[in-house]
Amino acid sequence: MTQQHDYDSIPGTYVYDAERGRIGYALNMFCMSLNKAENRKAFKENAAAYLDRFTLTPEQRRTVLERDWLGMLKVGGNIYYTIKIAFCDGLTFQDVAGMMSGVPKETYAQMMLAGGRSPDGNRYKDADAAEDK
């Protein structure tokens, strides 16, 4: 059962709502464990073995091991949690944001310096039908 929401029409956005909270719990709690230095060490030493401590789905496991940042959101990851994997890798929020939006790091950084991504044309998935309605 998937409920419809008015925010479903926002493009490129994964609202961490009840449904994602339900499917993403174990994935996010694994990420939460990385707040402890000893866990970060264990994860860095052997990621696959560390993940065995958590009941992730095969797809959740794949997204973590492959650092598929966008994929993690689609299987219930919450960005404030998944970013902790990136911190383990020495990446920043901006590095991950660039990867999720599918552009090189430098391109993303330049976009931000130029004032960020414009809301124009980015408000609705079906831009022709609904933009600025």
């Binding site: 926002i10 961490y16 939460m32 970060r40 993303y108 960020g116």
Partner: protein, 282 residues
């Protein structure tokens, strides 16, 4: 009584804290942001409040998804600095004000705001970055702090209207406190930003400017903005701005804007700092 003398709206971008902790505030990237903080620090230092109520959200540090309080008040006398995944920020621990915090907790609950009470919790960048922004890098923070956490991580956060009413109840409770105290209240987070998905990096300067203008012109109109409108117009994480309404609700209607700074980008975010003087207000 405890008198709320000022309201402060302040973004809490983690990278701002990192830039300060690593001594990078004078670089070409960061100087335009940090140059705008100086006058606000001077103003706040002159004001010399006794206590700051800081309304912020925890980012998977004090709390995880195990238990998600919608509104929480911290009543401890000391709040350690959280390890957010890369070690704790090298800033002083935060001293609480348990007497006022417990008074607020009791008053708010009896006033029908069902607060969760936090006796033991670390505080993350959501709280410490606004302290750093407005106080610089002192050996100890210059005032006591009462953390009020608002959930904005698990949808839905409380509505802007509800946050505004909580602010009104905080003001009323302060007035009934038996000791004389001068209090500032911070609303943190925002402004427009999106940290996730293909649409990451969204910034809406027009939305932000209108929002800042209306904090004095027509704050009640801002409380009617829906979560979907925040997310569509100001980015998925822009919904954090509901926390500013707690601050605004705690001030008088005619609180006066005395300082404004707005800069894009701070990492992925439109960073703002605004001070509202509540002293001459009716």
């Amino acid at each position: 009584m405890a008198k709320i003398v000022a309201g402060i709206a302040c973004s809490h971008v983690p990278a701002i804290g990192v830039a300060m902790d690593k001594g990078q505030t004078a670089t070409a990237y960061w100087a335009p942001l940090f140059n705008g903080y100086g006058p606000a620090r001077d103003w706040l230092a002159k004001l010399a409040p006794d206590v700051a109520i800081i309304v912020y959200n925890d980012h998977a540090n004090a709390f995880s998804l195990e238990i998600i309080p919608t509104f929480l008040i911290g009543v401890a006398d000391r709040f350690p600095i959280a390890d957010e995944g890369f070690g704790p920020r090298p800033v002083p621990p935060v001293q609480g004000h348990p007497e006022l915090a417990w008074h607020l907790a009791e008053s708010l609950i009896l006033d029908e705001f069902d607060m969760t009470i936090g006796n033991e919790m670390p505080v993350d960048h959501g709280l410490t970055v606004p302290l750093s922004v407005t106080c610089g890098q002192p050996a100890a923070w210059p005032f006591k702090v009462i953390p009020i956490c608002v959930n904005v991580v698990q949808y839905p956060p409380p509505t802007g209207a509800r946050c505004f009413k909580l602010g009104q109840a905080i003001a009323k409770a302060n007035e009934r406190f038996p000791q004389e105290l001068r209090v500032v209240i911070y609303g943190t987070g925002g402004m427009s930003h999106q940290l996730q998905g293909e649409r990451a990096g969204l910034i809406n300067r027009q939305f932000d400017t209108d929002f800042l203008d209306n904090l004095t012109k027509d704050p009640l109109s801002l409380t009617k903005i829906s979560h979907t409108e925040y997310m569509r117009e100001a980015g998925s994480e822009g919904v954090e701005m509901v926390m500013w309404h707690v601050m605004r609700g705690a001030l008088a209607e005619d609180a006066a804007e005395v300082y404004r700074h707005y800069h894009v980008p701070a990492s992925n975010t439109a960073a703002a700092l605004m001070i509202l003087d509540n002293r001459s207000a009716s």
